[in-house]
Amino acid sequence: MTKKTTGRLKESAIRAFFFACGVLAVIALLGIFATLISTSFPAFKDIKLSEFLLSKNWDPTSPEMEEYGILSMIMSSFIVTLGALLIAVPIGVGVAAYLSDVAHWRVREIVKPVVEILAGIPSVVVGFLGIVLFAPLISKIFNIGHGLTALNGSILLAIMSLPTIISISEDSLTAVPPAYGEASLALGASRWQTLFRVKLPAALSGIIAACMLGMGRAIGETMTVLMATGNARTFPQLPQALLRSVRTMTANIAIELGEVPYYTAHYYALFAIGLVLFVITFVVNLVADVVLHKYQEREL
């Protein structure tokens, strides 16, 4: 074999390898989706879809009447995530604005990697933090029996989604052309006015995408909320819900899947919850992706 043909063979082998890697990722996603659908589908032989999505009562092991309503869990996931965003978005965008606009470059060089390392803290450790630190604090401040509440979960999820929000928001603020800022300053705008009226609006789609990605992270988080939110199977009534124990969709799956008898309606129902969760995170990520894409296009 000549040198030239071995070279060409090597070339196509490498190409095939990378193609296979790419295809594998797609297959994995489709596979997960297919498995979820096929394992959750049998649940709806016994459970009505409307009851599943709209009933507040989840009691699959009741001796009298088994109930399979996940609305309480959807609401719980929603409340914990919303609480996390209410805390994380202002802080995250604020930190991003500080890093991109105010901080000395040396400060930025240190703070940004540290923030990104924060994303690597295992969720068990964050949950632990919730049990020993925030829960007692919440019970003391609001004078309630225990602090394992939705609020506790929100605080922890906020901490966990901050790195994503800060990092991507900072990137999109830094990507705003310096000429915009100069033009604003030259017109007699203060640095604050320049930040709020020119830079933040120009970076808005990136910031929104950052928040959506942070939200995707928060809504799918399991271990932390399982440890920190008390896991009570009740329907969360606003506005007190933040100070009550709640059980999210993720926590419910994690709690019950270990003990459920296989191939029962209960077993399949847990997978159906997973499917609902998958659809929600998929939509959130898709929206984030579309928004981010639109923003990158405009920059070009």
């Binding site: 000429a179 915009y180 100069e182 033009a183 007699g188 009226r197 609006p201």
Partner: protein
Amino acid sequence: MSAEALKIRMETRDLDFYYGSKKALDKVNIACYENRVTAIIGPSGCGKSTFIRTLNRMNDVIAGARVEGTILLDGRDIRLPDVDVVDLRRRVGMVFQKPNPFPKSIFDNIAYGLRINGMRDKKRLEAVVEGSLRGAALWDEVKDRLDENAFSLSGGQQQRLCIARALAVEPEVILFDEPCSAIDPIATAKIEDLIETLKKRYTVVIVTHNMQQAARVSDFTAFMMLGELVEFGVTEKIFTNPVNKLTEDYITGRFG
């Protein structure tokens, strides 16, 4: 035209400028007269852009930059601690090398400078926007599309939009930092005509690397090299009968 009868609007005395330890301007003395166009010319890297950006303190934002000497606006040093830089920049407007409209509508671009100063009255905003666009000779081209994004305009139109945006806050001095380097010859001619009109109401300072442009639009010319002012005087004299040999060599195209 005698310089003595004119009023000096802005003036630098022994202006030094440093980027860190590197000296970018060395003892520059230039006067900018009211209702006249002062051009700053010189080869790349001679400090002409640095100079013009000291006049509205745009160099403040550069880390490690340092200014020494005096910069006077109406006889008052703009570097005194009690001078409000925000107010200074409103009085001394600037148009940049590359057109830099905001990613907003044409109307919002012009109204920006007024809104940050708290003007909310829609009627007055509309009046100022129209006046500024007329002042920048752009009104007829955009009057039916004020809500369109400024990026839909051509490069030359965008630059006139930036001029209109600067006019809206009613400055006294307008600084042009190579305003035509990124636009085509026809758009350039329009901007030069505009500068000719603007000097009736404002003091104009223009940095240009184009000597013909300086000869066409300016009344006074300063020739700079390596951070030093080589020669400053009436444009006609600089271009026909320069005192300094370096100026003559540059004007006649022997280097640069």
